[in-house]
C-alpha cells in the first residue's frame, strides 16, 4: 500500500503542505524538534483516526490554532478494493469535533474508515515494547488488531465505553449501577479476548522465527497472559461475580482484557525483568516484524512503514540486518538527525525538515 499525496493544514509545528510522495517513500533528515516526527504523525493520523503517540486530537493541532486537517491519498493497485482513496481527518478546536472522511464522505464510525490506509509506525519509544509496562503491549495489540480486524475494533470501542461507565459507577460507590454494564462488557470483552488469543496462537512461532531472522540467539517464546476463559461471554458472569468484592474495594474493574499482557521470553528468561538491553530491543523489533506480517496477512498487501529515528537505537550489525528485512518491497518513510545515521545502501529520496518546513 502506497500513499501518493499528503495534505496537512494546521498540524503541530508543520508548515501547511500538499506534497506528492514517492512510491518508494522518503528519508527525512533534520535536527530534533524540527518536525520530522510530526510529519510521520500526520501521515499516520488517517490510519486509525488518531495520533500514533499518546496525544489527544487537541494536542495535535498547531498551538493556539483553530484545528487541523490531514488527508492521505492512497494509490490504487492494492488496498481493500484496489482503488485509489483519500482518507482525511479533521479536528475543529472550538467544538472539539473530529471528522473522518473517506473519498470526501464523512463516516459515522471510525471503524468505517479503517483499512483504506494501512501503515505500521516504529518509534524510538517502541524499543521499550518488550521491556516496558503491560500498557504498552496492550496498546500494541489493540492498534494492530483494530487494523487487522474490523470486528475487533468495534468490540474494543464498545468494551472501552462499557468499562468507562462501569468504572465510573464503581468510583461513585454504586456497584448495582456498575453491574448494569456487565452484559455489554461481557460480549464485547469476550470478542477482544478471542481476537488476542487467536493472534497470539499464530504469533508464538512468528516471534521465534523473527528473532532467529535477526540472529538473536536463544529461542523466543510469546504467550498471551490473561484469563483465557473470558473468550467465552458466558464465562464473564461468574468471573465478575467472584471479583465483586475486589471491584468494590478498589473502585475499578479488576478483571478483563484491560488487565492482560503478552509475556515474552528469550532462551527461557522472561524479557521484561531478565533480558539484556540487546535482547529487549530484539524482542521489540520482532514484535514490529510480526505487526507488519499480521497486517499483510489480514489486508492482503504490504502496509507502509514509518520509522522514526529507530536505527540510532540499534548497533551497526542489528541496523544492517533490520534494514535488509524492512526497507524493501514496501513504501518506507524514515527519519534520522543526520545522513550518516541512515542505514547504508538506502535508495530513497532524501528530504530535509527545518522549522516545520519539509523540502
Amino acid at each position: 500500500m502506497r500513499a501518493e499525496r499528503l495534505t496537512v493544514r494546521g498540524f503541530r509545528n508543520l508548515a501547511d503542505l500538499d506534497r506528492e510522495l514517492p512510491s518508494a517513500g522518503a528519508a527525512l533528515l533534520g535536527r530534533n524538534g524540527q518536525g520530522k516526527t510530526n510529519f510521520l504523525e500526520a501521515l499516520y493520523y488517517p490510519v486509525l483516526g488518531r495520533s500514533l503517540r499518546a496525544a489527544s486530537d487537541a494536542e495535535a493541532g498547531r498551538l493556539g490554532g483553530p484545528g487541523f486537517q490531514v488527508e492521505v491519498r492512497v494509490a490504487g493497485g492494492d488496498g481493500p478494493d484496489r482503488r485509489a482513496h483519500a482518507v482525511a481527518v479533521g479536528f475543529q478546536a472550538s467544538t472539539r469535533r473530529k471528522r473522518i472522511a473517506v473519498d470526501g464522505a464523512d463516516v459515522d464510525r471510525t471503524a468505517d474508515a479503517i483499512g483504506h490506509w494501512v501503515a505500521v509506525a516504529f518509534l524510538p519509544s517502541d524499543v521499550g515494547l518488550a521491556a516496558g509496562s503491560a500498557v504498552e503491549r496492550r496498546q500494541y495489540l489493540d492498534r494492530m488488531l483494530s487494523l487487522a480486524d474490523r470486528g475487533y475494533l468495534v468490540a474494543l470501542t464498545r468494551y472501552r465505553a462499557a468499562l468507562a461507565q462501569r468504572n465510573s459507577a464503581l468510583r461513585q460507590g454504586r456497584p448495582e449501577l456498575a453491574q448494569a454494564f456487565d452484559p455489554p462488557l461481557a460480549t464485547a470483552g469476550a470478542r477482544v479476548v478471542r481476537g488476542r488469543i487467536a493472534w497470539s496462537d499464530g504469533a508464538a512461532s512468528a516471534f521465534r522465527d523473527a528473532l532467529a531472522s535477526i540472529d538473536e540467539l536463544g529461542e523466543g517464546e510469546l504467550t498471551y497472559r490473561g484469563r483465557s476463559e473470558l473468550a467465552d461471554a458466558d464465562a464473564w458472569g461468574p468471573v465478575l461475580h467472584e471479583a465483586r468484592a475486589a471491584d468494590e474495594a478498589r473502585r475499578t474493574t479488576t478483571v478483563g482484557p484491560h488487565r492482560d499482557d503478552v509475556a515474552l521470553a528469550i532462551g527461557g528468561r522472561a524479557l521484561r525483568p531478565y533480558g539484556s538491553t540487546g535482547q529487549q530491543r530484539s524482542g521489540a523489533v520482532a514484535l514490529k516484524l510480526i505487526e507488519l506480517a499480521t497486517l499483510r496477512d489480514a489486508c492482503g498487501f504490504e502496509p507502509a512503514l514509518l520509522l522514526d529515528d529507530v536505527f540510532a537505537e540499534l548497533d551497526r550489525e542489528r541496523q544492517r540486518r533490520l534494514a535488509e528485512r524492512l526497507l524493501t518491497g514496501r513504501q518506507v518513510f524514515l527519519t534520522a538527525p543526520r545522513r550518516d545515521e541512515l542505514p547504508e545502501n538506502l535508495d530513497l529520496e532524501v528530504w530535509t525538515v527545518d522549522g516545520g518546513v519539509v523540502r
Partner: protein, 196 residues
C-alpha cells in the same frame, strides 16, 4: 460582553451550531425587521414558559396531561418507552404505533452522573402497577447505554405479568432513533422481540 457577542455565544451553545454558524445567524437576524425578531423572541419565551413535561408520560406538552395521554383512541395498555421527548414524535410519525409513551429523560450513564434515580423509571413502575398495562415496548436508542438502560428496566418489570419487548435489531448501532428512517423503524417495531 456586547449584545452581538452575547447572542453569538448563546446560539453557539445549541447542538450542531458552531461559532461560524452562530455568527451568520446573528447577522442574519440583525438584518430582519424588528417585528420578525420580536416574534422569534416571543416564541422562545413562550416555549420555555408554557411547555412542561407531561405528568403522566414525560412528553413535552402545554397541557396536562399531553394530547397523546388524553387521546381515547390510543391504547393505554401498550407503552412505548423512549429516552427523549424528540423520539415520541419520531416514532409516532414513522410508525403505526397507536399506544402511549413513556419518556425516560435520558439513559443510564454514570459518566454523566445519570443513574436510575435521574430517569423517570420510578414513574414508569407506578404507571404499570396502577394496572391496565399489558405490554411495555423498550425503544431506547440502539447505543450501548440505551441497551443497558433497556435491560435494566426489563429486569425491574420482570415478574409483573407483562409482555416486555425490545425493538428488533437492524437499527444502526450507536445511532439515535431520530436518525433512523421510517421504514427501518416501522420494521423494528413490528418485529419487536419478547424479552420478558
Amino acid at each position: 460582553m456586547s449584545a452581538i457577542e452575547e447572542l453569538i455565544t448563546e446560539l453557539a451553545r445549541l447542538p450542531g451550531i458552531g461559532r461560524k454558524t452562530a455568527q451568520r445567524l446573528t447577522f442574519h437576524l440583525l438584518q430582519q425587521p424588528a417585528e420578525q425578531v420580536g416574534r422569534l423572541a416571543a416564541a422562545l419565551t413562550g416555549v420555555s414558559e408554557r411547555v412542561r413535561a407531561c405528568t403522566e408520560c414525560g412528553n413535552l406538552t402545554e397541557e396536562q396531561p399531553c394530547a397523546i395521554c388524553r387521546d381515547p383512541r390510543r391504547d393505554p395498555a401498550v407503552l412505548c418507552v423512549v429516552e427523549e421527548p424528540s423520539a415520541v414524535s419520531v416514532v409516532d410519525r414513522a410508525t403505526e404505533f397507536r399506544g402511549r409513551y413513556h419518556v425516560l429523560g435520558g439513559r443510564l450513564s454514570p459518566l454523566d452522573g445519570v443513574g436510575p434515580e435521574s430517569l423517570r423509571i420510578a414513574p414508569l413502575l407506578e404507571r404499570v402497577d396502577r394496572g391496565g398495562v399489558r405490554e411495555v415496548i423498550l425503544a431506547t436508542n440502539p447505543s450501548m447505554e440505551g441497551e443497558v438502560t433497556a435491560t435494566y428496566i426489563q429486569q425491574l418489570l420482570a415478574g409483573r405479568g407483562l409482555r416486555v419487548t425490545r425493538l428488533a435489531r437492524g437499527l444502526p448501532v450507536g445511532g439515535d432513533l431520530e436518525y433512523v428512517d421510517g421504514v427501518t423503524l416501522q420494521h423494528a417495531l413490528s418485529a419487536r422481540q419478547e424479552i420478558g
